[in-house]
Symmetry: none
Subunit: 312 residues, 5 copies
């Protein structure tokens, strides 16, 4: 147990030892074990975007076993997926990598301005599948947001009682937000804070732009000169919004890009800004495995470097 | 226990032995026992379309006993029906054929662009009636889809705890989909994938056309040259969408047709494409029994031939 | 126990003996005991239509005891009413007549195109009141139909576990149906089938007209020459729609009429068509008791004649 | 509903209508229907004494169907038996005779001075089997008596909630009682009172002798000249002990006797003393059916005569 | 479904269809499928007698897989074992043979005159392991007998609700019985009757001797000339004690014997006496597999001959 991991665990003093043990498992697995950094492989895109859009470019990825293998070979800290994908491989890869069960999902067959998510798995499912954590998506800003907040409250309460950790995907959406607003720095910071207030141990958000969405917020950012010019500054701001660095905040890798340098620059900015890591889906499983392993390795190399901690 | 059935069971490693035993019972009954192929008789059309439209052409079919007898005499793997039809014959035909209890249903008295289904039976009903599985319909694309996903999640969790198997009818519907879109290859593949992610052991979809519904999907199919020209290719694609062939996908027979050759050609395409079988309702019980037995026999003959497996 | 009652009980093989015992009690009470026919007194019109509309023409009928006495003196098989009416007399008339507790009701204070019903009593109420059965209304075709189907599903499961019988009032309603459509032969047959699929032991529908509502059904009736010209033929068709005569289907008497001959002709047609009896509310309690007893006696005379059974 | 039955029901004002309905069913069935008298066939001797001792003298009685038929043909008010015997015929004889499920039993393989009973059936079993009542044995005086009192308390509470009646077999036993004491008048009266206090609707005791067991009681009987010289007086005393005749008390027929006149004299004494009837097991099923029917008929003849009521 | 199996199922009319389906599975599996006869392999001797005493003579039998294979290869109707043995092979042999989970066990480390059994598995265990039935041992005559009766009551109620069958091992034991008494004809018949009254579907007893243990019973056997001279007569008597042949009674094979002819003679007597089969443990798994298969084959040959039915 490294001092850094011990320090991180100390932030979650209200949790029982079972839950802390599972947070520790996530932090102590894979290539980044002990560093306090995480790279997680998430594969819920088949459900969220459709199977062909997700897997046709790398047909091996239709097979649920592929993702277990990719996460294990890459040395990821964890593999996160919906019920079906985990059920289809959990016994075959028992104990080889920490698992996060995505417990709610949406799809792309119906386009709604105020999206919601369906409950697609339970805390009891996570226990029987040997998962370390449940994953849950919220859409702050959606007309359905309060329903989702209430659901994760109940799920998190149950998960913590049984000793599981809680990962919240916090994605602003809704009829009052345009595309630009969904990644505005004020909105992303707000989304991270809400997830932290809902009791998440690990918070996943998108990388923020320098755009400010809300008038009421803009005044504050302008008058107080909150530094948000660079991506690293913005990452640092989001991490600060999540309890001044006392919650684990990780950032999504976004859609598959051909320009890997840009992606690695983003990772360097996350690292420089005190972010805790990345959750890299499409940029990993939509490439040939060899390329994916090389890219994930490069990302981990960056995170394995001397950390730049907000709380230091 | 044939090697093929054993192989299929190995895909469902997260399930308890009770559930696997019931999957095995479905695969090991009737004329196709042990082949890994299934032909199931479903009779929920009385509820879904009305009794006269369903049974007037073959009046014996008004009698719930008729369908038990038809399924048994034809050597089907299972008989699937709503609560009332199963209750009306379960004791009389105890142990003669595996039963699947359809647990939700809709009707044709109200035409809705975003249809939903009513819960019409429970997992406990399935247990007391000696069923091997529950059946559940979802309408991916409907404004009510998330509610249905949440319901099958809860039903599936309960079913799996008590050792039952789960069959999902996945029929895309909704205000964003026109009739053509409901059977578009991208949409059917997506529907199969969603059912798999929701934890289905057996997935029932309609036969897909070569039409592509979603703009976002069209690019993928076109650019990656996903082969969907022939029905067999499309079946293969749908099976791939359902965890690369690691989930049992069967196809509905559609409305009663006079041209049996066309129907048998479709079955040949399903078989050639690696599909796992057919669920044949109207094309069986709307014919005189003698004709239905002959047709079902011809269908089973095809499936009993050398299988063409995606996972081989 | 007459052979006919024994035969009827044999249709409900999935039920426990407790439920069968209560079905037998309904069939073995009153003047028609043992014939397999039923005449039931229902008095939920006070709730559904208002008290003055229901009882002002025969003021004694405001008194809940009046209906117990009427049903007992007439020799009805059972008395069906909402919670309040049963609670107001159940102890006074303990054990004198089988009771059916109507567990949901609507009223006439709010006119809705897509009506719903409120849950107004529970299965536990039925047990503490010594009832033989619960009664439940569904409105197939209403936008609320799926909610009602789900409710009766849960009620029926509980009732059957504790040994009660289930009576479903199946009345098509909804924004897609005009008044004529509500009693169209195709719609009434469909309504009877839905009630049977939902697990009803006894199904109550309105007498159908020769009108056909649904285009998709009309073709079937026309092309297959389904005989629906006479009322007896239509009754026979509805009984066939309810599992080929293997479920008890009874018909409502409709609004109070002065022309008793017409009413008795309808009863003759129900009897000739293989119907199982009548549920006669307004035509009994809205007359002076002496007249009501005479009319109910005449109705029972008809049913006590040689039955004309569909399943013979 | 006769005035006498209505009067009896009025004694049980704390019970819900469901329970009263089942008490009424017991009183209104068979040859003694409406008289307020009961003759019940109990067959738990196979369990309590062993099958050969119980049935070898009339081999047809090994068959559980035999007892249903005997009780029905004799016109008994009810048939009482343990779970297995009721399960083995309940569906075959649905609704033909009220059933009482004996919910606890002992056997003769272990001779204990302070006997106890095993719970062998539940209230839920009684509901699913369509029973009118549960039956329960207590051994007042046994070192295990308080455990049995606590069990019947819980069973009775549940039975009454669901609308069942409660029959208590109250048989004094225990290390402080010798054989003579078990049927002493003070002890039998005490046993009847305890059963009444425990909430029984129907109490079964053995016929008392004129012997007085307890010193503390003897003074009272002697000084107050309680009349116990004749059997009729003793019956009257026991009935008085059970709430002054406001509870139904019936008497067991004892071991099979060849001298039927003696048995009939006892019945005359029960009748003369205001007892409510007999529970006749071995004296009925251990004779050839023809003889049993004749004897039961003679017993019912006596009870059908003008009643001699304590409460008149 | 043979007429004989259908006849046997008709004896269990109080059970739900789920339970009947599992009784049918036991009767319709293996070499004796459809005959109404059963040969079951039980292996609880490791727990009851110790592993070396049980398996050292055929070391392969230490391996839990061995017993699955033996039962499958021999064509037994079912394999019965405690939790650990079933857990150790249930997934490996999914669906290959009906399983019976022994839910209580005792051991040989403590010698008690009044033995008891520990609850070692639950009904929910049986469901997750895909079993057809639970198995339960009672010791009629033991000072702990009432506790065991109460336990199987609760287990059987739960098993039957979820659709499982119930097998009771009924072995008289206790301080009032010496070794000779445990297999006395009166005691074995009594034990079979108690198991039937407790609601068993299948009853297992030891082969009875002509000895009579209880004084109270001896008179009956002597005076009524109950034929018990030959083993076949005694089997017939025990079957009669279990509801006149309306319950399935099977007989244990006893300790391993070298004289196979004696064992086969016993089987012939069971068959001649209308017994329903054998449960053969030590005489099968303590021999080399080849010999065991030959012996089990010979036993099944006898049972496959023309049945001699008590109820015919």
């Amino acid at each position: 147990m490294t001092p850094r991991v011990r320090e991180i665990l100390s932030w979650y003093g209200a949790d029982n030892v079972g839950t802390l043990t599972n947070v520790a498992r996530l932090l102590n697995h894979g290539r980044l074990a002990g560093t306090g950094k995480l790279v997680i492989l998430p594969v819920d895109q088949g459900f969220e975007h459709g199977p062909a859009r997700s897997f046709a470019s790398n047909r091996l990825a239709y097979n649920p076993h592929y993702h277990f293998e990719l996460a294990i070979e890459a040395g990821c800290n964890a593999y996160a997926a919906p019920l079906g994908f985990l059920e289809a491989g959990a016994r075959d890869f028992t104990g080889e990598i920490p698992l996060i069960l995505k417990c709610n999902d949406n799809n792309a067959l119906l386009d709604e301005k105020d999206p919601n998510q369906a409950l697609t798995a339970s805390v009891q499912d996570a226990l029987r599948l040997g998962c370390c954590a449940i994953g849950f998506t919220i859409y702050p800003g959606s007309a359905h947001q309060l329903e989702m907040f209430g659901q994760i409250r109940a799920y998190a309460e149950e998960a913590k009682r049984y000793g599981l950790a809680v990962v919240i995907w916090s994605y602003p959406r809704g009829s009052d937000l345009d595309k630009e607003g969904e990644t505005a720095i004020d909105v992303v910071g707000y989304a991270a804070h809400i997830a932290a207030q809902l009791g998440a141990h690990i918070i996943k958000v998108k990388l923020p732009t320098a755009y400010i969405e809300q008038e009421s917020a803009r005044n504050v950012y302008d008058q107080l000169h909150v530094p948000i010019a660079t991506l690293a500054e913005r990452v640092r701001h989001v991490v600060e919004c999540a309890f001044a660095g006392r919650r684990i905040v990780i950032f999504s890798g976004g859609p598959a890009v051909s320009d890997q340098d840009k992606l690695l620059d983003e990772v360097r900015a996350i690292h420089a800004g005190g972010g805790f890591g990345s959750i890299i889906g499409r940029n990993s499983f939509q490439r040939p495995k060899k390329d994916a392993l090389r890219l994930l390795g490069a990302i981990m190399d960056i995170y394995a470097g001397a950390p730049d901690r907000l709380t230091a």
